[in-house]
């Protein structure tokens, strides 16, 4: 039983320390190449792996764990769990992990018999082909539909940007949230001194403490930048709109449109998605929210907030395929003034959101 308990504690430690952001986990400036034989394919969310036996110069065989990306993205790129099979000979080019031996992230992969490249580039989110253009769909009373046109399917997919900064700021931020130059921190948002110190700490530690990397929900504006999209379910007769997320852990949120008051942040039970009420202003849904907890980063770059956070979100469907999301961040405990950010999101027609659970493998299965 002592061994079981010890194993449990080791597992706990493993999960905590293994779930890091990609920049913190892998050293993007290094490369490894090797030939080997596939011993296992782990086709699970959020990160699929190939395990490859490699003979080292001394003749000993070591097993590498090669992260190949998210299965949903891989399938959109034509992969399946049988593209590479146990027993296949492969050549690998990969980015090694910073601290974990024999672990890497795939850059390119060739099968050796026959010689063919079956993977190239990173496994970033695949963007579906844009849908055919069309007018903004509306309900019979003329109000804009945020979901599919009548009788159709679809959901909102990739955002035009994967990180967040104040609108109009010329600062350069990488897709993973890291600043090109950390001295630009003041230009990302009007941070109070403590918030700037926390933000810089997160940047300098390569986002290693990102709660989303540990599968906690993507609260605040980040919910509209997840890799696997979202959809609106408009329950007009019940005066509410459900927002169902394909990213995170299939989280959902309610926006009440029945005219109830917003309430006060201090009265709300703090949560990842807050308490939201919405109203239509002509063709724009305006949503005000309070009651956020402090357990998430509202952007992948690590912008902080407090429980005083209040968001005003404006959703405008410009045409069939384009949703404009405009958010005002008001948190006087974190920022010196309210500030805005905006992006667009692309419609994915005639498809359903696919099943994605960030927690599925928790990255513990390959630890050897």
């Amino acid at each position: 039983m002592k061994q079981l308990l010890l194993g449990t504690l080791i597992l706990a430690g493993t999960v905590v320390h293994a779930q890091l952001s990609v920049p913190a986990l892998y050293d993007e400036w290094r490369r490894v190449t090797f030939d080997g034989v596939v011993t296992r394919v782990e086709w699970v969310n959020p990160r699929a792996y190939l395990f490859v036996d490699v003979r080292d110069p001394g003749g000993a065989v070591v097993n590498w764990a090669i992260e190949i990306g998210n299965p949903l993205d891989l399938e959109q790129r034509g992969w399946s769990r049988r593209t590479v099979r146990t027993g296949d000979g492969v050549s690998v080019e990969a980015v090694p992990a910073r601290d974990t031996p024999k672990r890497a992230r795939l850059l390119a992969l060739w099968t050796t018999r026959p010689r063919a490249q079956v993977f190239a580039g990173n496994a970033a989110t695949a963007r579906p082909t844009p849908a055919a253009a069309g007018p903004t769909p509306r309900w019979p009373d003329g109000q804009i539909r945020l979901g599919p046109p009548g009788g159709r399917k679809g959901y909102w997919g990739a955002a035009s940007v994967s990180t967040m900064k104040e609108s109009g700021s010329p600062v350069s931020v990488r897709a993973d949230g890291l600043l090109t130059n950390v001295s630009d921190a003041d230009r990302v948002a009007p941070l109070q001194p403590w918030a700037k110190a926390v933000y810089l700490h997160r940047q300098r530690t390569l986002l290693k403490d990102d709660p989303s990397a540990r599968c906690l929900p993507p609260g605040g504006p980040r919910q509209f930048q997840t890799a696997h999209g979202f959809q609106f379910v408009e329950q007009r007769d019940q005066g509410r709109i459900l927002v169902l997320f394909g990213g995170g852990n299939r989280n959902w949120r309610i926006i009440y449109t029945d005219g109830r008051p917003l309430g006060q942040a201090a009265e709300a039970v703090p949560s990842y998605f807050g308490s939201s009420v919405g109203r239509w202003e002509k063709d724009t849904l305006v949503v005000e929210s309070v009651g956020y907890n402090e357990r998430f980063w509202m952007t992948n770059g690590g912008l902080p907030h407090t429980e005083a956070l209040r968001l005003v979100e404006r959703f405008s469907r410009l045409d069939l395929n384009t949703l404009r999301y405009d958010v005002t961040v008001d948190d006087p405990r974190t920022y010196t003034r309210a500030w805005r950010s905006a992006w667009t999101v692309q419609w994915v027609p005639d498809r359903d959101i696919e099943e994605f659970f960030c927690e599925e493998n928790a990255e513990s299965t390959f630890i050897r």
């Binding site: 079981l4 706990a12 999960v15 779930q19 530690t205 998430f296």
Partner: protein, 121 residues
């Protein structure tokens, strides 16, 4: 039964470890102790809250609570300075990204100076 309790505690530890408080680094309840080198140690519970302009709080909440009169942080060095009636403390914030971040430094009270160790609960 004891084993189940231990296993439950282990899982609880995991849960606590992965749900951090990501707002102001000082906000929350801190617990620890202070004492002179080689001397007895005195338990401390400290509650701090950031209101957007200042950190306020209490030492040992309850009937004998001592209000904090001043809390400041040098954000360049993560050095925290805490003042209360008859008490002066200074320490460095460590393990900032963790829920269980720490303040490690010195504590002066009633003419006695000792080392300070606080961990966010």
């Amino acid at each position: 039964m004891r084993t189940r309790a231990l296993l439950a505690a282990a899982f609880l530890l995991l849960t606590i470890s992965i749900t951090a408080q990501e707002g102001h680094p000082l906000t929350g309840t801190w617990a620890g102790d202070w004492g002179p080198p080689g001397g007895s140690r005195t338990h401390i519970t400290m509650v701090m809250n950031w209101d957007g302009k200042a950190v306020s709080g209490l030492i040992n909440p309850g009937p004998d609570a001592i209000p904090l009169t001043g809390v400041s942080v040098d954000w360049g060095t993560w050095t925290v300075r805490i003042e209360a009636k008859g008490i002066s403390a200074e320490g460095r914030l460590e393990d900032i990204g963790s829920y269980h971040r720490r303040i490690v430094g010195t504590w002066s009270q009633g003419g006695t100076k000792g080392d300070l160790r606080l961990t966010r609960e």
